[in-house]
Symmetry: D2
Subunit: 336 residues, 4 copies
């Protein structure tokens, strides 16, 4: 039996409880949050919780808890994580893993020293859509990859502690890290804080790799509609991943570049929307978080690295840190 | 009767002939192109053409022609335009107006000296959609404008003389110039040439204004689907302009920023796609090019500046030139 | 404190438990189902349940239960409902209320005699979309209503006890009953059972009213994509309600019939997708079932008729019964 | 050289002229219409026309014309067609071929006797989308066909001479006739005339075949948006043909019926939008009317039956006639 304590009962909290509760020989036994009313609600919804507390230490120090999930604002990830690891708890952290590269490195080192599992909840990596795209890329079907372009915008919640890069980009960067699987060399970013709070609400991030490959991410809190669209272009095929699409999240287009170098096709192309067949594979709809929970629990039991381990978390934080540095320095190119 | 000669019988040529032919007291009398087979086809389709020639000088020097339309590759715009103006012809130029700022300035100065009309065919400025958006912005309905974000991508024709910025961005820059109507201060761009030809096929352009306002344009020849999407965000309302949409090209969203600063709405926002009513105004479907032709002819008759005059063409060329300079210098910010 | 027992732990069961659990002074205390494995799963997910049983009588006869929800196959609705009412339980029934008009009438009569609340879960009536459409129709904005056309198709579960009319049409008929709010006079239906089981998997239902108004419903288990689309056409405005649309479920088009009687507009119309502005109002996203639960509980406390009472359930069953009769008699028109 | 005369210069006229003009050794020499202003406009746009007249006999009786295209209101199709055939002209008729079955039969018989080509312009049969679907069906990929469901609605022009069945349904019936390629046995229809003119503006048509196959067509002049959607369901695969879609008109879904008979999949299906891969083949965008023109001219030269000959026109008229008869008799089933 693995006994789990969750710190942070916000938007994500109930989903964590529900998904861990569905696993065999796993029990969510404790929940901590600073907000009294959230605790009340959770107690009613989940009468199975043994401990519901305003003091996270009761969980972090408890002998009856094997693993901790940290779902709090990023600024508290490091201290809470260190406390958990130093008390022998396996650790699942919400993204972004930490506020700095250094913090991430210390957590990785500590987990390793104490022989504990350290995992980061890069949820999108576990979605049916991203899993399917990974399959396709791994198969070589796309050919050489030319660019990764991701747009994640909506009329969002203005965070008061972090800007739009730290709030939204972790999704795109973790997806890119998983799918492209190449070291990032440089990052540059432009953006703007439209309000007095000096917190950027829009940003454009360019990512350079050790290859003939371009990455670009547009994150934005000020868009009237939700857009979650990623283009992945290869020399042979191209993928459009639209996460807002209910039934056709992933589309694979099978006429590529060679095609359009053919002069005869020029007029044809000018009047057409696309130039080849399109295939939209069936996507598994299993809730990603249930796979996150399973991966964490399996990694604990098998004493192995989880798919999205501390190193993955660190790589993502590095890109976010670089993007912010560039943003603050007027867009100059930053080495990662 | 205004007699018009057209130089260049490519993709755009037939549309020019058709639209000018529909105007009262206007006749398209001559057409020039270097490609024999294009001339043959045009002669059959338009038996009304008096002169169909491989030698553009026959048009540029003719006494029986009042105005010339130049629809050739951009590299030839300047010499052909100068020849037309120096022979007393009014001049309509396809976009981009010229290959350099200097060329544009010389044309403007020459037209002025000779008392001739100089107009640039920024077609999109004459579409029902852009006209409607201009109306809305002018009315103040949007409030203060925060950003202009435009994406124009498709599996396009690889130009062998110009890169994707010169090929596609003139549309977005001319739309932005018309709608935002503020001086551009800086431009920076990143991009990549994925093929040996050293011609960039993808580019991201950031535009700085003399205001708390951000511009961004993504142009791309390597996308599997045609995207023509522009977001214009104001403090009160936001506009999505999707030119690929058949029936709802312009959508106006009427809940803005003040709204999402309200903490109580936070959870609400997190689960919603949007936060207010949306209105999609009826868009006039009159063919834009027919209005371009009419504006050119009216400007000639009324001896007045056309809506998209040489100055507009120049402003667009300045931004394109700056973007290319930045692109070649690794993305450094360029003053315009 | 209202103590609720639920009979039937299928697809809908967990949603019922969750939504009733969120109400103040309401507790879901018991759950019955014939399937052992479903009971196991429910016990784990909802440790708060006092009684989990394979014998529904333990709930229907219990003194510690005030109200019962019946979420079983339709064939058992009547006997279970009668048992509940005769033991003094308030009753919420899943749709369709019963398998015959007569059964519905007996239940209504029994509930009335025993002074108990009888409600039918016409869930869609409680959605933000339908509520908004009702508002619009009530306001008179649409003018005189000309037709109600609804399509509900998908690659569905083949029921082995009921055909597609009894499975899917209750949604459309209950929405139509609520929105149109006029007596149905006639029903006719065509359809087909493509498999040996003699259970129709596709049906087209025409509904006649006591007015210049036409109703039509297409239900289908054999469609590759989910379609949930309703057109409601009035003399002044028209509504498209697309339940699959994530963000624009309801669209109101404000140019109507008078418009298209104008001959001058003819050519215009021929080339246009629509002829007026469109407005997509913000839709409340509150889960409909939570409002169903609240309505049931409020009706019990206030001892009043619920919005979707037995009579509403009866009206829906009448139309379904008529449609089936017509279907079996080769499509002849049936009086309701 | 084939010399063509066109009777009727309405909406379709210019398209006919343009497309025939593009064929080798074909010339559109004459155009007739009763409306003075239409003739004026056409003369200006097509200076190549030798004869532009208000008197169709000048074309029908001319010795210098080989073939005639009739693009007038359906009521005049028969007399004009007979006049053309009796003067030795090959004949292309706009759809619907005639107002009655008898008229169609007489025209077929007359053309045959005089050894003349008789073709009906069922334009949709020549579109890239329908051609592709025909390919797929012929290949057997779909398996046994279960139903053909077509919806063609928009805020249309109110014809003053014919109802919505004669105006819109010819498209769907001709597509169905070509794709399904089985004899129609019965037709029934319901509909309504919402205005004093007694001309039905909405109709639902059910079509019975000599097989376990159902046809249904919904035509409607009173819809706020243009819908042109056809579902073709087979035992192995299903097709969605959405003619309004710019880039994905045809979608093939490859999980069929056998699949959903599997009980285990039930819950899966309930939460999914679809159950298999989808493929959207590239569609040729060649203008259908250019292929119609080519087919007509080729049939004349090769003295062979055209793809959509008089018999095809007759089959379509039979279904339309039956649908109208049923409509007027309150929806009773009519034998075709």
């Amino acid at each position: 039996m693995i006994r789990i304590g969750i710190i942070g009962a916000g938007y994500w909290g109930p989903n964590l409880i529900r998904n861990f509760s569905l696993l065999d020989n796993v029990r969510v036994v404790a929940l901590a949050d600073l907000r009294e009313e959230r605790l009340k609600l959770m107690s009613r919804l989940y009468p199975g919780l043994k401990l519901v507390t305003g003091n996270s230490d009761e969980i972090l120090h408890s002998r009856d808890i094997d693993a901790v999930v940290i779902a709090t604002p990023v600024s508290s990830h490091f201290p809470l994580g260190m406390e958990a690891l130093s008390h022998g708890k396996h650790l699942l952290m919400e993204k972004p893993m930490t506020a700095t590269t250094e913090q991430a490195e210390v957590l990785i080192e500590t987990a390793q020293r104490n022989g504990l599992i350290l995992m980061v909840d890069h949820t999108f990596v576990y979605t049916g859509a991203v899993t399917k795209i990974k399959e396709i890329i791994t198969s070589g079907e796309l050919g050489e990859i030319y660019y990764f372009d991701s747009v994640r915008v909506n009329l969002g919640l203005f965070q008061h502690d972090i800007n739009v890069i730290w709030d939204l980009a972790p999704h795109d960067v973790s997806i890119m890290d998983y799918l492209i699987d190449r070291p990032v060399k440089t990052v540059s970013a432009t953006g703007m804080a439209h309000f007095d709070n000096q917190i950027e609400n829009i940003a454009y991030i360019s990512v350079g790799f050790d290859a003939n490959l371009l990455g670009h991410i547009h994150v934005n809190w000020l868009a009237p509609v939700k857009v979650r669209k990623t283009l992945i272009c290869g020399s042979r095929k191209m993928i459009v991943y639209d996460d807002v699409e209910p039934s056709e999240k992933v589309k694979i287009y099978n006429k590529g570049i060679d095609y359009i170098r053919n002069r005869e096709e020029v007029y044809n192309i000018l009047v057409q929307y696309r130039t080849g067949d399109m295939m939209a594979p069936r996507i598994e709809l299993t809730e990603a978080l249930s796979l996150v929970a399973k991966e964490f629990v399996d990694a604990i039991r098998e004493q192995r690295k989880p798919l999205t381990d501390g190193q993955a978390g660190l790589r993502v934080v590095k890109v976010l840190e670089g993007a912010n540095l560039s943003l603050r320095s007027g867009g100059k190119v930053v080495k990662v």
